[in-house]
């Protein structure tokens, strides 16, 4: 059991977007908990609501067209979703920080790296220029930028992709946040740089005792990083388990399919990787029944009629499925 304190408790979050074509049901009741110093990974295909969930928590969903229909997000007991914009400005970047997918576009091209990293310091800690500069040098050193005293005066275009992502991390870590939300921070980077960034985040997490939510669609990245994994599909959590349990004993057909699509070094090489047939559902239609049913190999009548609840299948392991993949028959 997890005896650490819960730091972020998300309850039944539903986020929609009202666009010209209709309503996009992006997030359809996501609940999750995050403990202090814990790393969880949220995995799923593109468009399954991973980023929208986290942007909703951060209060960064544009309203309109976005709308948070229901849900609560308790951060240390206070509901973030009920906070005013002014209150959220104090939380964002100070308590909850976020790193984005593409470091090439997430830095302002006309401001120096140092100026951008010092922004949260000025905003949240009211640091004066000299102190902030000094802290920026420390931060850049911490994330492994060589010669930080000079490089802080560079513009983003003078940094490589990996260095920019390091700078983004420095910016996110400036105020020593309790929660770091990393939205696919390594997707835009090549694998060696990806490994460096993951290593860096792990090291900083351990040093600062920071909780990390790592959004990714790469199950391979998750293995060495997270303690718990949350698998999302069509704006729903479909499976939640510890990382070892998920790899050894996956219970949801979607998780099974994802793992089957993943190359593994301990598996025979002459076997072909399996792709998942079909595409994720169109979220313009409120999912009726299990959203994975059209692509599922174990599908039966009940799946199309009723959306399964998140059922406990083992200790600290829940899956949203009517079918017992272990015994090869539907649950009673």
């Amino acid at each position: 059991m997890n005896r650490r304190q819960v730091i972020l408790d998300l309850k039944d979050l539903r986020t929609r977007f009202h666009i010209a074509e209709g309503t996009v049901y992006a997030v359809n009741g996501v609940s999750l908990t995050l403990h202090e110093c814990e790393t969880i990974a949220i995995v799923g295909e593109s468009g399954c609501g991973k980023s929208v969930t986290m942007l909703s928590v951060m209060g960064l969903i544009p309203v309109p067209p976005g709308e948070i229909v229901s849900g609560q997000a308790f951060y240390r007991g206070r509901d973030l979703l009920a906070m005013s914009e002014a209150e959220m400005e104090h939380i964002r970047g100070k308590e909850l920080a976020m790193v984005f997918q593409d470091p090439m576009t997430a830095l302002n091209p006309v401001l120096t790296i140092g100026r951008q990293i010092s922004e949260p310091l000025r905003v949240h800690l009211n640091m004066d220029h000299a102190t902030a500069q000094q802290r920026v040098v420390e931060l850049l050193e911490q994330v492994g930028i060589p010669d930080p005293k000079n490089r802080m005066n560079d513009y983003p275009h003078q940094f490589s992709g990996g260095m920019r992502q390091r700078a983004m991390l420095a910016m996110a870590l400036a105020c020593a946040p309790s929660v770091l939300i990393a939205d696919e921070p390594t997707t835009a980077l090549d694998v060696t740089i990806q490994a460096q960034i993951i290593e860096l985040v792990t090291r900083l997490r351990d040093a600062l005792c920071m909780a990390v939510i790592w959004i990714t669609h790469d199950l391979g990245v998750v293995a060495g990083l997270a303690e718990r994994v949350i698998v999302m599909y069509a704006g729903l959590v479909v499976e939640e388990a510890s990382v070892d349990e998920l790899y050894d004993d996956p219970r949801h057909p979607y998780t099974l399919a994802l793992l089957a699509a993943l190359p593994r070094i301990d598996r025979r090489r002459d076997r072909r990787l399996k792709s998942i047939p079909g595409a994720p559902p169109n979220l313009l239609v409120m999912p009726h029944g299990c959203p994975f049913a059209p692509r599922c190999e174990f599908v039966f009548d009940r799946c199309r009629a009723e959306t399964p609840p998140l059922l406990p299948v083992a200790i600290e392991h829940r899956a949203r499925c009517w079918y017992d993949v272990v015994n090869g028959k539907p649950f009673e």
Binding site: M58, L60, P64, E89, H90, I91, R92, G93, K94, A97, M98, F100, Q101, D102, T105, A106, L107, N108, P109, V110, L111, E119, P120, V123, H124, G144, I145, P146, D147, D154, Y155, Q158, S160, G162, M163, M168, M171, A172, A174, A195, Q196, I198, E199, L200, T202, R203, G224
Partner: protein, 319 residues
Amino acid sequence: MESIAPPSKGSIANLSPDVLETPPLSLGQLTWRRFRRHKMANFGAIMLILLVLYAFGGAFVFSEAYANKTETGARLQAPSREHPFGTDTVGRDILARTIYGGQISILIGLTAMLVELVIGVTVGAISGFFGGLIDSLLMRITEAVIVIPQIFLLLVMAKYFAASIPNITILGRTFSGSVVVIILVIGVTTWPYLARIVRSQFLSIKENDFILAARATGTSTSEIIFRHILPNSIAPIIVSGTLSVASAITLEAYISFLGLGVRPPTATWGNMLEGAYNYIETAWWLWFFPGALIALIVLSINFVGDGLRDALDPHSRAI
């Protein structure tokens, strides 16, 4: 994961730039470099500096009283040693008047541009950033100003307001109140184009990831507008501001020529042309010198604006 070495100082040393590499240039340095290579822009810039020196340096040679002194005995004299540019219909020295008129014309151009910038950037920024109802409202107002023919609006406003403002004294010089009227009138009628440019810039820049990233670090809305979006849209604002100095000078000349602009005795290049059309053939110096100066300054400002547009273009690969 064990195979990855911790990033000690040694292992990342190879990330540092080659010492022989030339230091990267900042945006300003790049712009200056590109501007210097633009021949017409250089010509324009030098010409502009000379014209400014002429208008402001000439004040040390002739006094303003001399420029405004009428001498009926010496009216309509052709250029001579005593009056190099000749004299006008009431015997004032045209050389001295082009010097003081130049000052006013340049000041009108610059301040009208400032008025235009303040209104245009504010309206465009609010409209583009907030969108929705505010945007619709501001854009309808903008269109309303655009659909009225500018010259017509200028003339009506100039005539309506001209009498109501008394003379004002700034820095020991007395300006006809009509100067202020002209500045405001030009500024108030030219901002819609700039507002549209700024709005379109804001619309596209606010969708960038770095704006989301800035919000995610808790940056307030006003900081995002002024520190993140505005510096990114500065290039078209600078170019449009430069060109609007030229158009303000032309507009001033236009209304002054029609007799609704700056009132004598305050000279401007524009109002020196007023009445000169009666003497197109008989006294060419009346219109030639102020006319040539207007043409020169408008031309050189346009060259500079052109050069700035090329130099500030981030897509321009020319170094």
